[in-house]
Amino acid sequence: MTQAAAERPSSGPAAGRRGRGTSGPTGRGGTGRGGTGQGRSRRAPNPDGAWPWLFVLPTLIGLAIFYFWPVIQTAYYSFTSWGVFGGAEFVGLENWVDLLQSGEVPRALINTLAYTAMLLLGIPISIYIASLLNRPGLRFAAFYRVLYFAPFVSMPAAIALVWGMIFNSQYGILNQFLGIFGIPAVFWTSTEWVALIAIGIVGIWSSLGFNIIILGAGLRSISPEMYEAARIDGASNWRQLISITVPLLSPSIFFLTVLSVIHGMELFDLIFIMIGESNPIRSDTQSMVSLFYRQAFISNDKGTGAAIAILLMLIIGVLTAVQFAVQRRRARLD
């Protein structure tokens, strides 16, 4: 992607050179800029002068100040201990050892992974819904799309409050509904593990729309002839879904898998609101990010917070790398 200069449709060096001799106010001259070759552009005197820097520097400086340097600082902070009145003292691996011994972090990590796994369960559901939504000639498809997509654009904080009411163990509508079938009241948000399932349901519910949109774009590029041929062979709708849709969608599915893992590992809003301060299972039902928030900004233990953040960054990096490796291997086997 970084060699994209080469993709650019270009009129070629010859055309670019025609620009020579224009009386531009900047005194541009030189070789013009139609060149496609990277090697060439590197040696050539810069035809745009200082202009490109005026364009990119605001963003680059901002990113350096607010993103690049802070990541390095955070990494450093993870080896420091913070006094009550600020001031960091280098303590080596102390925070990291504490992390692993505390029990809190491994538990938060397991919770986060469990939530992420649940989000991934949303992908097969999305594939099925998307395949129905993109049936040729389906009426009301635009209407359905709005229904499925609405949760994705809705404020997570507000959504979490509403779902909190739905999941309420005494008068929540869900338990009352289940009660019709004789199922005893479930303490959705105050039972260990069960609370994660409740949060996972909300997570799937709110990510379904985005998944469907991405899959829809992939589905539209599958030629209808494929399905037609399968139908002539007598393949059922289900068979078509498994044998045509899913394999041909695999790039979109892979993309969604990567995004869902990143998104799932950064779980915060839902758990922060649905598992409130007074919840008895709060200390066992943290995500990595909610634990980070608590350590760094509530307990004001920025060293431990930084270590959690860096740990999470490494884990997400490894998970993403593994997914890419698996995908590459699968592509080769195909």
């Binding site: 224009t22 364009f55 990541v71 819904i129 695999s250």
Partner: protein, 314 residues
């Protein structure tokens, strides 16, 4: 939303490469314009009945929380907490919506959210299109390397820079202010990437013509190229509006006084406050997400296309 750069455009490229090793090795893989194509759409009509059944049941589950939220927001506290449930309040209590303004600093928070969202969108669109344009169409030293390094930010989760960002904002005296919430978020590697992907595909001729007319690079960008970029600007704006309006963690960290917080933080802090009635809480949360929902319903086509565009490009 973090988008990984590697996924770029892949879903778009699938048909050509995968149709060669598709599951059915029939010759019909090749797209042709045979007359039989006409029979493809729809297939047997009856099969769509099942699709409608599944989609409407699923669709009901998707909108049920919103419907239930509306019902609860118009009920009394007793009705919300009654067993068995009251599916429809005995009288519609629109008073709950008035109560919101008495019990929470809703207007103040709404105004903060509006200012945060508008400035974030304007800032990101300006900065990202400038930088994206330069990366796409200008030559400068090490531009490819700088671009690649910049994209590496997309791999890093928020928390990894949150603490130092907080310290910067604190040192600038910007805690509890709109600039404090906005400034770090107007610099966006993702937005720059998105805009660059668009500019890269524009033809050279337009710039050449403007250059011959004696326009300087900024004039070319501003008068010729930027107006063409409307589709990707709207995609970027949509993504940014959603992120700015709905974001919770960062504004939660940099604000502490209720009337200086965004709606998202304000709504989040209603949870567990026993002084607030449930119906009022539901009314407040509905009002907080209504602007974006209304915007989405009014321009659903554009929002869906914009998000698909940015999702696929990213």
């Amino acid at each position: 939303m973090t988008m990984s750069p590697q996924g770029s455009g892949d879903p778009m490229n699938t048909p050509t490469e995968s149709s060669t090793n598709g599951p059915t090795n029939r010759p019909t893989n090749r797209p042709t314009n045979r007359p039989t194509k006409k029979s493809a759409p729809g297939g047997p009509r009856g099969s769509n009945v099942w699709a409608h059944v599944v989609l409407s049941i699923g669709g009901f589950i998707m909108v049920f929380p919103f419907l239930w939220q509306v019902v609860m927001s118009l009920s009394s506290t007793a009705e919300v907490t009654s067993v068995p449930p009251t599916f429809w309040p005995s009288e519609l209590r629109f008073d709950n919506y008035v109560e919101v303004f008495r019990q929470v600093p809703f207007l103040e928070q709404f105004w903060v959210s509006v200012r945060v969202t508008v400035t974030t969108v304007v800032g990101q669109v300006v900065l990202c299109s400038l930088a994206g344009y330069a990366f796409a169409r200008m030559r400068f030293a090490a531009s490819a390397t700088i671009f690649a390094v910049m994209l590496s930010i997309l791999m890093i989760p928020n928390q990894a820079y949150l603490i130092p960002q907080y310290q910067i904002v604190q040192n600038l005296g910007w805690l509890d202010t709109v600039p404090g919430i906005v400034v770090p978020t107007i610099f966006s590697a993702f937005g720059t990437f998105l805009m660059r992907q668009f500019f890269v595909n524009l033809p050279d001729e337009l710039e050449e013509a403007a250059r011959l007319d004696g326009a300087n690079p900024f004039q070319i960008f501003w008068k010729v190229m930027l107006p063409l970029a409307r589709p990707s600007i709207s995609a970027l704006a949509i993504v940014t509006v959603l992120a700015a309006w709905n974001n919770l963690l960062w504004p939660l960290v940099v604000t502490s006084r209720a009337e200086h917080r965004t709606l998202s933080v304000g709504i989040a802090s209603l949870n567990g406050q026993y002084v607030i009635d449930y119906p009022v809480m539901m009314a407040a949360s509905l009002m907080a997400m209504a602007p974006i929902l209304i915007l989405f319903i009014l321009m659903q086509r554009r929002v869906i296309e914009g998000l698909a565009f940015s999702g696929l490009k990213g």
